[in-house]
Every structure is written in structure tokens, then in C-alpha cells.
Amino acid sequence: MSNALEDLYQTIILEQAKARTGEGIEEHSDGSSHQVNPTCGDEITVQVDLDGDRVSALRWEGDGCTISMASASILSELAVGWDIDTARDRITTFRTVMRSRGAAELPEEEFEDGIALNGVSRFIMRVKCAMMSWVAFEDALAQALATGASHATGTTSAGVSHC
């Protein structure tokens, strides 16, 4: 197998895809977003709760490939405790690196285990897989903010991942 493939399917990725940290959605959330990857039909729903301007919970439910499931699992580990600005900043960085065709890498101090996703950026067909949960997170966050106070019942928006 090629080295690039080993970069893509690092042990952490394979483990996270099985662990599915954060899996399981609830009836109520501050913000929720359902995203679909139109190329394969994969889908995910991400829910966020806010405590003031901090992410207090992130839950998700979805069906997809190793990369998309691992990415959602890693996101769940990272996002809880982020304030809104940090979350937006991390989403921007993640998107930039994933789109970089291998030219950029995620900073380890910010993304921890998430740097295992660095290899994805060299596989143009897989960038959407990694992005799907992050796009849903971005949208869920926007929903939560749009509905105002935390612990209100947010709206669920649906969309197609534009990554």
C-alpha cells in the first residue's frame, strides 16, 4: 500500500471511526444541523448546546465512511469548551487546511488528535468527508446563536455540505 494511504488511514482515524465519540442526539438542542454529502449520500446531524458563549455539548448522529465518522468523533472531543470565536477560528483553519491539497497542516496545539486528518487534504475526493461534520457544526452554531439564549429549543436546519 502506498504511504499516502497510510497517511489517510492512520491508526487514530481507524480508532476514532469506531469509537464515534459524541454519537447520539437528543430531542432538544440549542442548535442543530443536518448535512448531506451528495456524492455518496452520507449524512450527519450535529447538535450543539451553549452555556453563555461556550460550547457546552456537541452531539451527532450519522452514517458515513471512516473519514467522516472519525472527523465527527474528533470534533466532539475538541469542541466542548470552545467559545464562539474559538470555534469559528478552528472551523476556518480546518477548512483552509482540508482544502490546501497537502500544502498546509493543522496545528497540533489546537487540534490535538485531529492532526491525524492532515492526510485527507491530499485526497481531493475525501475532503468533503472530513468537512461534513464541521460544516454541520458551523451551521448548528449559527442556528443556536440565531435563536438567541442558550437552552432554548433551536431550529434544525438542513443543507448540503458546501465545503
Partner: protein
């Protein structure tokens, strides 16, 4: 893994020596992918193109390029002659007449062209001649659960525009259409039946004549998607008796950007135009247009002449090899695939079981491993397959998956390529730590 049975081919099939010769016409097969020789098993998405097709397009550009059906100069005349000669050649290839073949961008456009007639006629366009296409609430459109989105979504649109009800022939657990329900679903209320001869996911060959016979009994029009059949099987549209058909050139050795729609002559004549503008008219005043006869009525704007020329070369190439021999070769490859995947633990064949009529195409679900991951692992070994829903989400939904892995062959594929795919497939679950 257990080896599939020794391949048997009927006497009329191509020989391995001939296929080896054919492969030399496709320089792309000389390349490496990720350090391995390319194993191209994605023809159902798009086929590779032989030198003869590229040569025809190059020669057209270097020697003849002019505007078809416009002007009086020699280049325009030569281009027009080539353009119309290919129309006749493609028509003959399909068992049709030249004036029954309309150029389109691809099959999707062809099917939209045909579907639009029902929308336009229902809105009164085309006058009394077009009544045959006019639909009303209470009328029914019949499709199948195994359709490609391109032969499903346009009919949903027709239904939404006209009030006609969309119905479909369901798929059975055996991967084949429930034709036992045909008489209940195809009734006097049915005005049009649209279906694929070969499903792009399941690979089974649908008994067209049975559906056409029933459609005729009740006076319904038939639309046949031949995207996955015309490139692989001998086809005679007149004998099949369908009213319309559509295909894409790039799935049959031709370039992208060209396909065609077939229609019975009198139906084209009765049909209101689709895209309008230049080329589609006889007389235009500021407030009125008279439209020209088919096929030009449906070929708005300057056409993809170079691609049409390329498609002509593709069809000549296929005819030279011989469609019955290609079909027999691919039937052998398809059987080898279907039997082979069936022996791999954790791999489920979608579609008819080995031994049932199929082309050289199989789709599988690998238990516990997403199709994108399967495709990635195969690509690392130089094997190109399609992963995803293949523009047929309902078929996948029917069999409880969102995506599948599809291997599809053509006249240039060999049994050892099929075996390379089967070997790689049998290693997938181990790589991802699934199963024993």
C-alpha cells in the same frame, strides 16, 4: 479466496488474444496508478477512448472544421456531411433510421428532452398534434425503482407539472424488477413507461419486450434508457419496438458532450420543441416562429460537431469488433465478477445472483466498511471502481445501504483484471479491522 470457476466463453466471444490487441488501441492502459498497472473497472461511469476516436476528432479539427448546416463554403459542407453521415451510422448501430436520431449533450439531456414534451404538450404547446403527450390528473407515469436519477427526476417533474401520478415497478429481494406486478401497475391509466434496459447499479438485463408488449396493449408510450445496454449488447430499437430511447456517447468509447435520443419518426414530428432558438426554425418574425422538422427541431444552437465525429469513430470501432462478440466477452467477465464476489465473506452482491442475465457489471456492499473506504483502498492498488450511490439513491435505499462499490467492464477488460479486483476486495475488511 476461492478462485471463481474457469471462465467459459461462448464460441462467439472475443478471445484473450484479441482483447490484448484491443488494449493496445487505448494508451491509457499503459499507465501506472499508485505504483500499480491501471485496472480500469469504471466504464459504467465513463469508458476509455481508443486512438481511432481521438484521431477522428483531430483529423476533423485539422482538416474539416466548419459550421454545420450554415454557410456555403467547402468546410461547412464537409462538416455538415460528416455530421449527418455519423447520424446515419449511429442510427444504424441502434437499429433506427437517421431522421429518428437527435443529438443531445448526453442521455440526461435526452431524457429531459423527451420528458419536456409531456410538460409542454400538457400546457397546450404543439397544438392538437401533440395531444398524444398531454397528461392530466388521473393519468399515470410508470417508471421503476431501479432507475438512474436521470430517468427518475425528470418524471417527477412531469408529474409535478401535469398532475399525472408517478408510479413505479418495485425491485424484489432477488435484485430484479417485480414484473409479476406488471399487469397491475401498467394499466389503461398509464400514458408513459420509462425504464432502463440495464440498471447502472444492479447490472441485470430487463426483458424489454415484455414491458413493451404490455405498454402497447394499453396504449402507453415507452421510453428506454439504453445508457448501460447500447455500449454492451447488440441493440435493435425497431425490433424492440420502443417509442423513445436515450444514450450517452462517453460510455461507449466516444467523447463526453455527445449523446443521442431516439424517437419514432411520427412522435418526433408531433413533439413541441425543447430548447429553442437558432437551428430549430423555418420562419421567424418578431412575434411568431415556425419550427423545422425533426431532428433539427431539437438541436438548438451550434452542435458539438467534433464530439459527434468522435462518436462516429467509436461506433465504427465497436461494429468492427462486433457487438455480439463484445456482449459474450462481457457476459463472461460479469459471471466471473458475480461468482467471485459471492465467495468473499462479508461481501454482498446487489442485483441478480450469478447466472441470471447481467452485463459485465456488479455492485457490492462490504459489510462494516463504507464504499468510499473500499474505493480508496482499491485505488491504492491501481484499481478504479465507482463508489457512492451511482446516481441511484432509491436502489441503494431498497437494499438498505447508502452507497456501494461497483466494478464495470468493457471489451478491453481481462479476466486477470477481474481477479485483481476480487483479490483486493477480499482484503478490504481485514485492512479496516472488520470481521475475522
Amino acid at each position: 479466496m476461492t478462485s471463481p470457476s474457469v471462465s467459459k466463453t461462448s464460441p462467439e466471444a472475443l478471445t484473450l488474444a484479441e482483447v490484448t490487441r484491443i488494449r493496445e488501441d487505448f494508451p491509457i492502459f499503459g499507465r501506472q496508478v499508485n505504483g500499480h498497472p491501471l485496472v480500469y473497472l469504471d466504464t459504467a461511469a465513463t469508458s476509455q477512448r481508443p486512438l481511432a476516436v481521438l484521431g477522428a476528432m483531430r483529423s476533423f479539427d485539422l482538416q474539416h472544421n466548419g459550421s454545420v448546416h450554415r454557410g456555403a463554403h467547402t468546410l461547412a459542407a464537409e462538416s455538415t456531411e460528416l455530421f449527418e453521415t455519423v447520424r446515419a451510422e449511429v442510427a444504424a448501430f441502434l437499429g433506427a433510421d437517421a431522421d429518428e436520431v437527435v443529438w443531445t449533450k448526453n442521455a440526461t439531456e435526452g431524457l429531459n428532452l423527451i420528458a419536456s414534451a409531456f410538460v409542454n404538450a400538457s400546457a397546450g404547446r404543439g397544438g392538437p398534434d401533440a395531444d398524444i403527450f398531454a397528461l392530466h390528473p388521473g393519468d399515470e407515469i410508470l417508471i421503476t425503482e431501479s432507475e438512474h436519477h436521470s430517468n427518475l427526476v425528470p418524471w417527477q417533474e412531469v408529474s409535478a407539472h401535469t398532475g399525472a401520478t408517478l408510479r413505479w415497478i418495485p425491485l424484489g429481494d432477488d435484485g430484479e424488477l417485480r414484473l409479476d406486478l406488471l399487469d397491475d401497475l401498467l394499466t389503461e391509466r398509464t400514458r408513459v413507461v420509462a425504464f432502463a434496459q440495464v440498471s447502472n447499479v444492479l447490472g441485470g438485463i430487463v426483458p424489454v419486450s415484455r414491458i413493451v408488449a404490455r405498454a402497447r396493449e394499453v396504449g402507453a408510450l415507452t421510453v428506454l434508457d439504453v445508457c448501460q445496454s447500447a455500449p454492451h449488447l447488440p441493440l435493435d430499437l425497431h425490433t424492440l419496438g420502443v417509442d423513445f430511447a436515450a444514450l450517452s456517447g462517453h460510455k461507449m468509447l466516444g467523447p463526453t458532450g455527445v449523446g443521442c435520443a431516439y424517437g419514432r419518426r411520427e412522435l418526433w414530428k408531433a413533439m413541441p420543441p425543447f430548447l429553442t432558438g437558432g437551428s430549430t426554425i423555418t420562419t421567424v418574425t418578431m412575434d411568431h416562429t415556425d419550427f423545422i422538422d425533426p431532428p433539427e427541431r431539437f438541436e438548438a444552437g451550434t452542435q458539438m460537431t467534433e464530439q459527434v465525429v468522435g462518436l462516429g469513430a467509436a461506433v465504427r470501432y465497436l461494429q468492427q469488433v462486433g457487438m455480439p462478440r463484445i456482449a459474450a466477452w462481457e457476459q463472461m467477465l460479469g459471471t466471473r465478477l458475480a461468482e467471485g464476489v459471492t465467495t468473499i465473506p462479508g461481501v454482498r452482491l446487489l442485483g441478480p445472483s450469478a447466472g441470471r442475465p447481467r452485463t459485465g457489471l456488479v455492485s457490492v456492499d462490504v459489510e462494516g466498511v463504507h464504499a468510499h473506504d473500499v474505493g480508496q483502498l482499491l485505488d491504492a492498488q491501481g484499481i478504479a471502481v465507482r463508489v457512492g450511490h451511482h446516481c441511484a439513491q432509491p436502489v441503494h435505499h431498497r437494499y438498505g445501504v447508502t452507497a456501494s462499490t461497483r466494478a464495470s467492464t468493457y471489451l478491453y477488460n481481462t479476466p486477470s483484471e477481474v481477479d485483481a479486483f476480487l483479490d483486493a476486495l477480499s482484503g478490504v475488511r481485514h485492512y479496516f479491522g472488520v470481521g475475522a
